[in-house]
Assembly symmetry: C2
Homo-oligomer: 404 residues x 2
Amino acid sequence: MKIIVLKFGGSSVGNIKRIKKVANIIVSYKKKGYSPIVVSSAMSGTTNELIKKSKVITNNFTSSEYDVLVSSGEQIACSLIAGRLNDIGYKSRSWMGWQVPIFTEGAHSSSRITYIDKKKIMDYLRHGGIPVIAGFQGINSDDRLTTLGRGGSDASAIMCSKFFKAKRCIIYTDVDGVYTTDPNTFKRAKKIKVISYEEMLEMASLGAKVMQPTSIQDARLNRIDIEVKSSFVKKDGTKITKRKNVIANKIIRGISFTKNDAKLTLLGVKDKPGIAASIFKPLSYNAINVDMVVQNISADGKTTDLTFTIKSDDLIKTQRLIRKNSKISFRDLIVDKNVSKISIIGVGMIATPGVTYRMFQALAKKNINILVISTSEIKISVLINKKNIKKAIIALHKEFKLNK
Amino acid sequence: MKIIVLKFGGSSVGNIKRIKKVANIIVSYKKKGYSPIVVSSAMSGTTNELIKKSKVITNNFTSSEYDVLVSSGEQIACSLIAGRLNDIGYKSRSWMGWQVPIFTEGAHSSSRITYIDKKKIMDYLRHGGIPVIAGFQGINSDDRLTTLGRGGSDASAIMCSKFFKAKRCIIYTDVDGVYTTDPNTFKRAKKIKVISYEEMLEMASLGAKVMQPTSIQDARLNRIDIEVKSSFVKKDGTKITKRKNVIANKIIRGISFTKNDAKLTLLGVKDKPGIAASIFKPLSYNAINVDMVVQNISADGKTTDLTFTIKSDDLIKTQRLIRKNSKISFRDLIVDKNVSKISIIGVGMIATPGVTYRMFQALAKKNINILVISTSEIKISVLINKKNIKKAIIALHKEFKLNK
């Protein structure tokens, strides 16, 4: 039996017309000799509508009931897909998390799948049925409904691929793959055919909205190849796979960037051990994500300048927290809301010296000033003025021959 | 433990404001020392919206998937009620049919509850929790979701009352009780304080929209007293109970009537054994409900006149079926669309002679012509011209002193 997991995102099942299209895609794999296991998200908009209802009651809606509420969305989508497959002559039925069952652990609304009972689904597949499994949901040891958190249907698909030993796992979404950079910002962005988990993780956490980083990590840990495709147009997608499967003809795989960053600089901070911790602890407690951090060496050994970036949305809260922080003293706080982070990503840079130099050189040629630098094994990020972002993408895209 | 079953219909939980009101009603019983078991319908409109989705796919949507689809509505309502109860400080959680579990048998979309496992809910009640159970749904022996058919949440409430041995069962709805006749048509209609199952069954099947006849029958068979109340206004409702609990001070309990009837008369039908069956068989096959039937004695023993009533909506279809029916021959077919059936109902008439006479006399005094008559043990129905319906209600209401 050639099992294939086909996962459809919210916009792919956004209305009945699209659900019919999805049914045709499923049938096309059945005809090719595959045994499809379908995993579906809720119809786009449904989950937000349900969350809105809970918010009218309270902003602290019980998380266990929140899971009951939102998991109804997948129930609707799955029954409609199975009903459509029945209508066009295929044996199919919906499976809720508790019916499979899909076991989870951890807190409500952010549970993780620990185990999927194969028995019933395998039996159904052997009898030629097409199971349509509700993504995003499972049950815990108390038989209560749980959800996996936003984007959790991807995790459902990957865990199904793992437990059912699927030959392939295709994530159908509203984009047709992963691009060298955001095609909406830069028209000449090229689709990436094959990308490693690690590169994809860097692309995702830096702004590419194709898949949730946790799901990519799940795929990486379980060595599951993922194909990302569009359910709207028939085109080759992008394959996310092991590093060694990625042909190393390119040093840089893609360019990602952020749009809503803010930079804060604390001038004349008293330089003593633990000062960074004192600054960042209250931010962390308030769920403010600090991204790039640079600390200048203090000339006199007494004070230092500390620069870091956060999401613009958190700026007011962050300023307030820093100003009322009695554990730190500083001369001045300078804020810059007009900054963006641009990153080049590629496993190729590990084996290739001079990549950093080429990046800086390419930006310098266009008179783009670098404010902060941060690097990892397969990524180099720089903070620049927001107005230069497009110019920087064009320069880097050309420098690393991404349109070839 | 004083268990009380509180059932809320679709309009009672129609929006968040009403759900908050429902939570207050539940709490008021908790404060009085009751242990409430809540049974909820879907928010009004939800089920119809879901059905519409299935109809866009096909009019023959698989019934098992239809059940998965529509049962998501109760899931939403129950989680919102439980979430609200939590928010105002009460221990509560939602229970889907499969979690209780509630076992059903019979065809999908028209299943019947056979057994409710008490264990988990009783344990939860003992720990002071308020369970909010999804009405209208259960599971079958294959662990598949089933629904009880339209209005099935009433059946859920009655079966919960039975299995949990509830002291009381209150059906909260958008009307504040059962009236002597439709208060929208006749302003002076009076609320009935106590009515027997049998009377209520006749009232329901003749047009009173308070409860589904099947649920009243369930209550009757299990000897469960039902209180019908409004969740909108704080007023005494109507109690539906055993015949012997109903004080027999009234001969007639209420007047019900239909609005959309049509009368058909076949003139000069060849009178031979089985002729009525030949006429009605194709109607029955086409789900056309024949109500009153009158056959005149034939003078010559060769032909007869046959009159019957149907819903106006079925008239065109019925005429076509009769005209193309090769098994029967008749001289003419006369149709009257302007008829209504008016019925007086009351267990008191069993022991009281002369009720029929009083009814006919009261109508005759107002020059209302009776077209067809039909009687049962506790009901007398007559067919009259539609234009006389209001006049007839006033006359009968007065004759049987229903406004006292």
